[in-house]
Symmetry: C2
Subunit: 370 residues, 2 copies
Amino acid sequence: MPFAPLANDSFLRACRRQATDYTPLWLMRQAGRYLPEYQASRARAGSFMGLATSVDYATEVTLQPLERFPLDAAILFSDILTVPDAMGLGLSFAEGEGPRLAKVVRDEAAVAALAVPDMARLRYVFDAVASIRRALNGRVPLIGFSGSPWTLACYMVEGQGSDDYRLVKGLMYSRPDLMHRILAINADTVAAYLNAQIDAGAQAVMVFDSWGGVLADGAFQAFSLAYTARVLAQLQRTGVDGSDVPRIVFTKGGAPWLQDMQSLDCQVLGLDWTANLASARALVGGAVGGPGKALQGNIDPHVLLAPPARIVQQVQQVLDSFGPPHTDRSTTGPTHIFNLGHGISQFTPPAHVAALVEAVHSYSRAQRQG
Amino acid sequence: MPFAPLANDSFLRACRRQATDYTPLWLMRQAGRYLPEYQASRARAGSFMGLATSVDYATEVTLQPLERFPLDAAILFSDILTVPDAMGLGLSFAEGEGPRLAKVVRDEAAVAALAVPDMARLRYVFDAVASIRRALNGRVPLIGFSGSPWTLACYMVEGQGSDDYRLVKGLMYSRPDLMHRILAINADTVAAYLNAQIDAGAQAVMVFDSWGGVLADGAFQAFSLAYTARVLAQLQRTGVDGSDVPRIVFTKGGAPWLQDMQSLDCQVLGLDWTANLASARALVGGAVGGPGKALQGNIDPHVLLAPPARIVQQVQQVLDSFGPPHTDRSTTGPTHIFNLGHGISQFTPPAHVAALVEAVHSYSRAQRQG
């Protein structure tokens, strides 16, 4: 069944470094706990995984932020830990706590037992992608995603979130051979997972290297970047409707390594709030007519806790920091996709999000009119 | 009473960008829980603050790592929260948890009540400095320290450690005027605190901007860096024995802002493990004969969890990354003080620290012999 044609292609155009009438935006974790309607859906579903594993709930919550705000992209509602779960590590979410894996991968035997899982175990994700794409009906494009090989490995070794990554780093420094084996399996799994999302209808894909920034210089390149590159090399270039599928890589804390990330075979680099957009544009954004990466980010999500007038100021600072938008429709050039530097906080008032979205659209239109 | 002359000045020479026979090293939190003798002292003292507020205990534990390892500097045993405690915010350490402040600073009234505290309330710290300096008897120099104005503000607003700094960032974005007021008071307090440590015998001082790295680009410069600069501007240049007192600034997560930190009026910049030492040297290390900053850091403390043979490899990588040492004793040049990129983990086997110290000294001597 063919999908509806796209009414708002500003996000995909910006991914391709094509000029747009305004700076498109979406928000990491835009379908989330800050929305009362999300809380209501989650209460009905009984749990986070109840939402994520149900095609209908995943579709419902993915679309919720789009009903409130004129965002320029939707992102699949899911969790990066669906992958270790499919590997048989047993994912659970205890109320009021973060996710937890029942089994951990810390020794030779556990690593030997790892394999790329049958993608059929993740069918609920691909069904959700197809359902969301149909429900979007061409309104905005749908982004699929996965955790990066390194970020998945952090959870697989630690078993849960960590504040020091002691166990995964201990394994990495003590037994780099085992860590490379885990990462190779993760990379091939992530590639298969994203390809299946593309087959199901995803129009762009994003790799979340949420914990790449905890690595030391040198270790980042060897244990995170190299395996993100291994994922990208295996990704299908074309989606179900024959369009190209832009690839986005986001490393939280990755600002020191922007130059290293330039070599990644992706169209877009996501930036957290520590990055300076002007420097990033100069470093990797490319010239008009030349190659380069589109940039995505990077306002501090906690700006959204301030009153709307201050949010507007901060939005303008971020847009000004990126600098004059590329406006020549006859060629490619440096582009910016507005986003947060990390996921939205559950304590964000939805009215503040409305102020941010309106400020991004109106100020970026005004920038283009000079 | 004059202090004994210094037997090992390699650390101070490297701070001044003078050539040394080997790369000097010390370790952040070198007097800490990974040492059984520290655990024993703490058990006798009854608590962390029991150690920190007792001149005898603070002296005892400061010297413990020097008895085991040929480190090139000692650092005052204390905690950055002594300052908010002296401001009347009420510090406590619950067993098995981090530090906590009884009062928090989150509104106009609490900010209005803040003032630079009488340094007499911190007399136990200055007495400890003098006692440690005497006990060192010229063996190695003694480093005094303080948290940065921003890092202290994080604790003063949050009341404890945080994983998202939501409250302090919320205040900063909503009421920048209040945050600037807190930071100005903190800066003047930190300057008075460090000057009193210098008067008591500290031979170098270090500002720990442990939480500067959580700030967004722009906010870092306005809310952290500017107030570290305000501290540095007020510091005495000369110690009790007439020597210059090098100033070290360490921002955890500060790698994206190294160029901004170049303008700080300090001799040494501390780097965490995300920084590339070769790039940092090129950016701020300066040329032989020209101005520049000495660099301190930056091995990942979790390297110390690996077997000694791997620790040696990683030490060599860090030393090689800094590159050829400056050896011309007739002039200044780029220098490196080896350290961890953050505090040592309590799970570190002391024998692994011995391997690291030996590797730094022997490999860096060999580097100098070409």
